[in-house]
């Protein structure tokens, strides 16, 4: 589903020269990114390279250290809290650590945005929950509490919750981590359905090569504190850049200083 002629209304997310990090220490910098309505963009990169941090910045949870982020045409960090909340209702976020409410059942978790933010009648709410849970393969789990679900099931419940308001853009942080290949493929299919049927734009952080190949319209690869590569998966796979090549061909990267720096590492651990 490629959009050929873009208008400004079709650009849902713009990042211009963005740096993100913690306490003035930039983890990613100089990020320029545009995400267009109706595409699935995967964010790739090694563990700890800053993908989740980037998502936090995009979704208004953590101001970038520098640069400009525009989500759905608005600069979130210039809005007051109420306006920001209104804007964020048009988005959905499935966190890496599911972030389900432990004291609520799955059904209550998924339906929470509906019950809090809409005036829909209860039967409709229940039906919407039922449909969304069926879509992520969790029919029959309505009455269970999150801690009694497996990790993969919790992730899927989180995705159902993130998508319950039919947001224009959904952010998923590693939705298929910890899923078996069959369920993971089912989840990929669900994401594609969201895109094709409901017209949702999706930004997915993932490490699963299969998933990347099936769902991405575009992939963005982070590394070395910046965007290392960006483009279609075919482009990236054909890349001659060593790190990009290694990622796609699963070559174990040389770990810096494997032997001989033990004392150094201990020292860092203590001062960290």
């Amino acid at each position: 589903m490629k959009v050929e002629t873009r208008t400004s209304a079709d650009v849902l997310l713009t990042c211009r020269d963005v740096s993100v990090g913690y306490e003035d220490k930039a983890i990613l910098s100089g990020v320029d990114l545009e995400i267009v309505r109706g595409e699935i963009v995967t964010l790739l990169g090694g563990s700890g390279c800053g993908k989740s941090t980037m998502l936090r910045a995009i979704t208004g949870l953590q101001a970038p250290l520098a640069g400009h982020i525009e989500l759905l045409g608005q600069d979130m960090y210039a809005l007051d809290n109420e306006a920001r909340r209104v804007l964020l209702r048009r988005t959905g976020m499935a966190f890496q650590q599911d972030a389900l409410f432990g004291s609520l059942t799955i059904q209550e978790n998924v339906g929470l945005p509906l019950r809090e933010l809409t005036k829909l009648p209860e039967p409709v709410i229940r039906e919407m929950i039922r449909i969304k849970l069926a879509l992520v393969g969790l029919s029959g789990f309505e009455k269970r509490y999150p801690p009694t679900l497996s990790g993969g099931q919790r992730k899927r419940a989180a995705l159902a919750r993130a998508s319950i308001l039919d947001p224009e853009i959904i952010f998923c942080d590693e939705p298929s981590a910890g899923l078996d290949p069959i369920v993971a493929a089912g989840l990929d299919e669900t994401l594609c359905q969201f895109r094709d049927v409901l017209g949702v734009t999706i930004v997915v952080v993932t490490h699963e090569l299969d998933s990347i190949r099936t769902i991405s319209d575009r992939a963005v690869m982070f590394g070395g504190g910046k965007i290392m590569a960006m483009g279609s998966v075919a482009d990236l796979e054909a890349s001659t850049d060593e790190a990009v090549y290694n990622f796609f061909h699963r070559v174990a990267a040389e770990r810096p200083g494997r032997a001989g720096d033990g004392v150094d590492r201990l020292h860092h651990a203590r001062t960290a």
Partner: protein, 373 residues
């Protein structure tokens, strides 16, 4: 413009519902009301949902269509969708085929079963509590015989948290309690010209009753609740299980330091509050009765026996164990959802205070009857 409009054909008894515009979060409520109205009509045999003029159908719209299909089926009406666009078809494909709607009602157990279940619960809890006591005893033995040791620094840490940080509040309340008792006592005893006996009264009540009891109640709120909350949170986050899988006994690692610290802190704080209570009484007696403090103190020393003192200190040790064991037991039994931690915490306070007062009453009865048979 309304989201749906119905025409009715009397001959075929068919209601045709024409959907107009988007069916989304904002219009779904109206659409649902409309469909329910149609479903309730007795004269309608079959319903046709016409999508010719329909726009975007989002999940709330889908939910209404799915609900409508079920309502019609239940009412014995035929239900057809016509003029579906490509996007409508794709959207309707999202509906689960096999998943049956879950029944809303959970089965409520009957009265007898509820009583039975709660008895079993208590039995369960009782057994777990005894196991905890036994395990604590065993771990304590290991520590005493130096087969195992307490985590480094844990005991002093706990003493600091439970004791040092509570000195201010316990001290202040002890002092205030002493002054209050003095006022009450003076008013009463002066009528009989026996004002000087206020010293005896304050001494006895602070040492035997109020010192230990008040300290125990403050520590229940501060420390017992904290123990339950800490252990409960750890339980919920599987940290207790993590300890077990590492081969570390949670009882030794978490419980023992807390219990031992309480056993030191509670008597110590009680002692302090006894003295401050007496001090408070002394000040009031000096101000109101002009009773010289040294005379006051002489009466205290003459009146209070070592037995009274032991009675107070012994009780405060028992209170410490009540608080420690209740907090740990209820905290560790918190279940897998996060409200259970709050519940464990409040229950700890209620249960501890209850047993503290029961033990106190029993001790008072036994010692009084024992002394004056």
């Amino acid at each position: 413009m309304p989201v749906a409009h119905t025409t009715f054909d009397r001959k075929t008894r068919t209601a045709t519902v024409r959907v107009a515009g988007d069916v989304s979060l904002t219009t779904a409520k109206e659409f649902y009301g409309h469909m329910r109205g149609v479903a309730r009509r007795r004269d309608v045999r079959s319903v046709v949902l016409d999508f010719e003029k329909a726009g975007r159908v989002d999940s709330s719209g889908l939910a209404v269509v799915s609900l409508a299909a079920r309502m019609m089926e239940r009412g014995g009406k035929a239900f057809d969708l016509v003029h579906l666009g490509e996007t409508h078809r794709a959207a309707l494909d999202l509906l689960p085929r096999d998943a049956v709607a879950v029944a809303d009602e959970t089965d409520h157990p009957g009265f007898v079963r509820r009583v039975g279940m709660s008895i079993l619960d208590y039995q369960d809890a009782g057994a777990a509590f005894l196991a905890l006591l036994a395990d604590t005893g065993r771990q304590l033995l290991y520590v005493i015989t130096r087969k195992k040791r307490l985590p480094v620094g844990a005991l002093t840490d706990q003493i600091e948290k439970m004791g040092v940080d509570a000195v201010g509040i316990v001290g202040l309340l002890g002092l205030l309690l002493g002054t209050t008792l003095a006022f009450q006592g003076i008013v009463l005893l002066q009528r009989f010209g026996a004002g000087v006996f206020v010293a005896d009264m304050i001494g006895i009540s602070m040492v035997r009753e109020f010192g230990p009891m008040m300290t125990a109640i403050i520590l229940t709120g501060r420390t017992g609740a904290a123990i339950a909350a800490e252990l409960g949170t750890m339980k919920v986050r599987d940290e207790l299980d993590a300890l077990t899988t590492m081969g570390v006994s949670p009882t030794r690692f978490l419980l023992l330091p807390r219990l031992l610290a309480l056993s030191i802190v509670q008597p110590a704080l009680s002692l302090m509050s006894m003295f401050l209570g007496i001090g408070g009484g002394m000040i009031i007696a000096a101000l109101v009765l002009h009773l010289p403090p040294d005379l006051f103190w002489d009466r205290i020393v003459a009146r209070i026996t070592f037995g009274d003192f032991l009675h107070g200190m012994g009780k405060s040790l028992i209170f410490a164990w009540i608080i420690g064991f209740t907090g740990s037991h209820l905290g560790m039994r918190a279940s897998a959802n996060s409200t259970s931690v709050g519940a464990a915490t409040t229950r700890t306070v209620v249960v501890s205070v209850f047993f503290i007062i029961v033990v106190d009453a029993v001790a008072a009865t036994i010692s009084t009857i024992g002394a004056h048979p």
